[in-house]
């Protein structure tokens, strides 16, 4: 019942444009992540959704309701902030109770001193206390209710912030980099808890992060944003393996994807760093392309040949199960990074010559504008085969 | 984005309220300047206008600087403020460095002494200081105006706080480079603390330029008077009725600080508010 539809949202701050014409539709109950580097407009989009910022053009609908011009209170959304934004002068219980007090008590009942004695206040307050207790119980912070935020650890504060968002059962949860103030270990732990929370509550989550690991592990779908534009909306796996845009391929994945400039030389064949790769034949001769190959798409090859890159090993990083090998390849500006299985490539040393073949199903083609060049039948990159087999 | 999300007031309401309060704040200044350029006849006229029908400013200002040695008072003020400030920095920076960066027995006790000094309102000490100046035979000299202020507990406190925020490694590096502790104070710490020095300077100069209490006690001789007491003497001599020259004199006394303030607002606000801990 509470999907979200954003239509043609635009927003500028003075001379800088934060969002160019963003449209997005979010399914009810979905966990959607806005992923992008800082300054890409993801937080602005979230704040527009919350009603904290007003868009210059376009409209926002939550559920069946257009919420443009509605205050955050009326939008039935809850938000968790990067800084948690807990009220330092209130106890944990008061922090969690605040959204309920603001909604259920009228202005007179909230007034200091007199409010307590107005009819209905007492009962409403008791009900609120009950719910706060229940929420705290569910998050495992019931023993902290009388503390102030200043006395809590980072993880505990995070839970209080979650509790404050959960307590009134909003239709939509908005989270703005909620884990970035935690240390690495706690971050992984809280990530699992947020995922579990989403499963339990079953409501729509919109989550903003610059951390691709969070986006990949948490999301049903990921929205990759850059410079105020949506580049791609897809399932995490698809974002990784089947990016629509060169910038998506570059942003997602670590180590970074290898990029090669190439030109169609012969029909169905491009030259990459002195070796030939086969590509769909319908591309016209002379087309300029960018060929992108993920580091793990390489595998050790015995000797040079078609479809095999040859280079000098500049550096080797041992990552336990894998090796990252940096190769200087003639005609390629940046070192080529290959991720090889440590078992299969035990004795690579700096300075040696190495041959790596390309696993055909992982080659991605982009045109010079950065748009993806899809292959025949819309099938994935499967038809790219090393030249030696094709010849 | 507005700087506070408390409320978005209609701009016109905000501006009209603030312009009204600004106008009220400025009334005494405007009145002072207005009277300073009016002839006596117009001052005692029952209707009000800011600008006089007949400009009498030249006469009033001339009288202000000739009938009393106003320029001499201003000179006294400049001299006394400069002397106080120079000596304060000279005395306070070394002890602040010792308190901030050196380890020695008695440091806490010394700092406690500074804090006690910070706690004491200076006026309370005026009686003993008056007697001290009398014993030293410096009453009614420039020395009496300067002497009680040459160590400023606030200055020590402020410099110490600032010096503490400079990394110890800077001190260690300076020692390795062969600087003595004294030259570390003057060649490293003080130049690195210019914001604090500037804030303190403003606090000190504004305070002593405007001070009436101690000069009233310390000097009787007209030729030694700093501006506030000078202008008080002028007022008493004029029996308070010749407002034109008196207002001209007031304007001349107030102007230097206000011009400096308007030119370097940010620094002045900072200097005067760091003084809040005093």
């Amino acid at each position: 019942m509470s999907g979200i539809v954003l239509r043609n949202i635009r927003k500028s701050f003075g001379p800088t444009t934060a969002l160019h014409d963003v449209s997005l539709s979010i399914v009810n109950g979905e966990f959607l992540t806005l992923l992008g580097p800082s300054g890409c407009g993801k937080s602005t989009l979230l704040r527009i959704l919350a009603g904290l910022e007003v868009q210059d053009a376009g409209s926002v609908a939550i559920g069946d309701r257009v919420v443009d011009g509605l205050r955050p209170k009326r939008r039935d959304v809850a938000m968790v902030f990067q800084s948690y934004a807990l009220y330092p002068h209130m106890t944990v219980a008061e922090n969690i109770a605040l959204p309920l007090r603001m909604r259920r008590l009228n202005a007179w009942q909230r007034a200091p001193l007199v409010g307590r004695w107005l009819p209905g206040t007492g009962m409403a307050r008791r009900a609120i206390d009950m719910e706060v207790g229940g929420t705290a119980e569910a998050l495992g912070i019931a023993h902290l209710l009388d503390r102030k935020p200043g006395q809590l650890s980072g993880g505990q504060r995070q839970r209080v912030a979650l509790g404050r968002a959960m307590v009134r059962h909003p239709a939509v949860f908005l989270m703005d980099e909620p884990l970035s103030n935690l240390d690495a270990k706690l971050r992984v732990h809280m990530r699992a808890e947020i995922k579990e929370l989403h499963r339990r509550l079953g409501v729509t989550f919109v989550y903003v992060t610059h951390d691709q690991a969070e986006a990949m592990t948490l999301s049903d779908r990921v929205v990759v944003m850059l410079d105020g534009e949506v580049l791609q909306v897809a399932q995490p796996q698809k974002i990784y393996s089947d990016p629509d845009d060169r910038r998506v391929a570059e942003f997602v994945g670590s180590p970074k994807i290898n990029m090669f400039d190439a030109i169609m030389r012969e029909r169905g064949q491009v030259d990459v760093a002195g070796t030939a790769l086969s590509v769909p034949s319908e591309l016209t001769l002379g087309t300029e392309l960018t060929v992108a190959i993920r580091p793990e798409a390489f595998q050790l090859a015995g000797h040079a040949g078609p479809g095999v890159l040859t280079g000098l090993v500049r550096m080797v990083e041992h990552m336990g199960s894998d090796l990252f090998v940096y190769l200087d390849v003639a005609g390629v500006e940046h070192p080529v990074i290959a991720r090889l299985s440590a078992e299969r490539a035990p004795e690579i040393v700096t300075g040696q010559t190495l041959h790596v073949g390309v696993r055909p199903d992982h080659v991605l083609l982009f045109d010079r504008e950065g748009r993806r060049v899809r292959l025949r039948d819309g099938a994935a990159a499967a038809s790219v085969t090393p030249v030696r087999e094709w010849a | 984005m507005s700087a506070t999300r408390l409320f978005a007031l209609p701009a016109i309401l905000r501006h009209s309220v603030l312009l009204l309060t600004s106008a009220l704040i400025l009334v005494p200044f405007a009145w002072m300047v207005s009277l300073s350029i009016k002839p006596p006849g117009e001052i005692f006229r029952a209707s009000f206008s800011f600008f006089p029908a007949q400009f009498h400013g030249a006469e009033n200002y001339t009288k202000a600087i000739t009938s009393v040695p106003l320029l001499h008072y201003i000179g006294n003020g400049l001299l006394v403020c400069a002397l106080i400030l120079a000596l304060q920095i000279l005395v306070c920076a070394p002890i602040a460095y010792a308190l901030a960066k050196l380890n020695f027995r008695g440091r806490d006790l010394l700092f406690a002494l500074v804090l006690i000094g910070l706690l004491l309102p200076h006026q309370v000490l005026s009686l003993p200081l008056f007697i001290l100046c009398y014993q030293l035979g410096i009453l009614n000299t420039y020395a009496a105006l300067v002497f009680p202020y040459i160590v400023s507990p606030f200055g020590v406190f402020l410099f110490r706080q600032f010096f503490k925020s400079i990394p110890d490694d800077v001190v260690h590096a300076a020692r390795l480079d062969g600087l003595s502790e004294l030259s570390i104070v003057w060649k490293i710490m003080v130049p690195m603390s210019l914001p604090a020095i500037l804030a303190f300077s403003i606090f000190s100069v504004v305070g002593h330029w405007n001070d009436l209490f101690w000069p009233l006690i310390a000097v009787r001789d007209g030729s030694l008077m700093p501006p506030p007491i000078g202008i008080m003497a002028f007022k008493n001599a004029e029996a308070g009725n010749d407002y034109g020259p008196l207002m001209a004199a007031s304007t001349l006394v107030v102007a230097p600080l206000l011009i400096a303030f308007l030119a370097a607002q940010k620094w002045f606000v900072e200097g005067m508010t760091t003084g809040a801990v005093k």
């Binding site: 009220y87 | 408390l6 460095y97 050196l102 200081l129 007697i131």
Partner: protein
Amino acid sequence: MNARLSLVSRSVGPVTTSRKSMLVSELRSPAQKHARGEALWAWALAGPALILLIVLFLLPVVGVFVMALTDWEFGASSLSFVGLANFREVIFDEVFRASLINTVVYVLIVVPGTVLAGLVIALLIESSDSCRAFYRAIHFLPFMATLTAMAISWEALLHPTVGLVNQTFAALGIPTANWLRDETTALPVLAVIGIWQNLGYAMVLFLAGLKSIPLDLYDAAEVDGADLWIDRLRTVTIPMLGPVLMFIVIVVALKAFETFDTIQILTQGGPGHATEMLLYTLYRESFEYLRMGYGAAVAVVFLVMVVTLTLIQARIMDKRVHYQ
């Protein structure tokens, strides 16, 4: 000093005093030498300030108490302890009691007036970006201006016949008065001048306090449902400003306690004793009437009040640090 010597003698063992001093430099460890060098430097650097702190602060404050507890007169060569006689004299003196009451009344007008005006103006200035520096500068001007000179301008403003105040009031049909010569109005008028002078100071401190409130808190309050600005004021602004507010109250109270210039220029404590305040009483009794014992007793009373306020302020500053 003693501790260091004992350290040395421990490492040296039983040595006769005369030999000990001879051996000190040879037998001290490098670390001890270093510490000694550092301590010497420290005292050398602190020395001038230390002496001046003792001469200009510590001895005078002891002196005030001595004077308050003895019958010493200026120029007298002997003194004898009179206990609390000076305080008794002060307390039973009508002038002093008037002075004390006036000071309290004055502070009770100036502090709320200044703090409230400063807060409202700070909130108004901070609610938008336009002309911010301009408004801040204007409201801060009185705090910078030489009060002696401005008091003379105020006197002209308040002049019973040609002053702008009475002219304006008469034109608007508001009753006029001889503000500074009327026992009922003199003190409130001085308080108004006090507010005029200090509100810019309070405003600037409030502005700094407002700036330090994280914007996220306002956003959170809004999402939590604080739609009305009064709710945001109550859930975020005022509580977050709380420590700053208390601090400003004390600082302004201290400034109000120390009021002297306007009394000296405008009223000399009159009419009657309507504007007699502590610092002015202290000045006049000590330096015009040369009643040193009496003056010292007033000084002690003044000191106790100011120190109490300052210590409360220090407590609040401490608390503020522990807030987050």
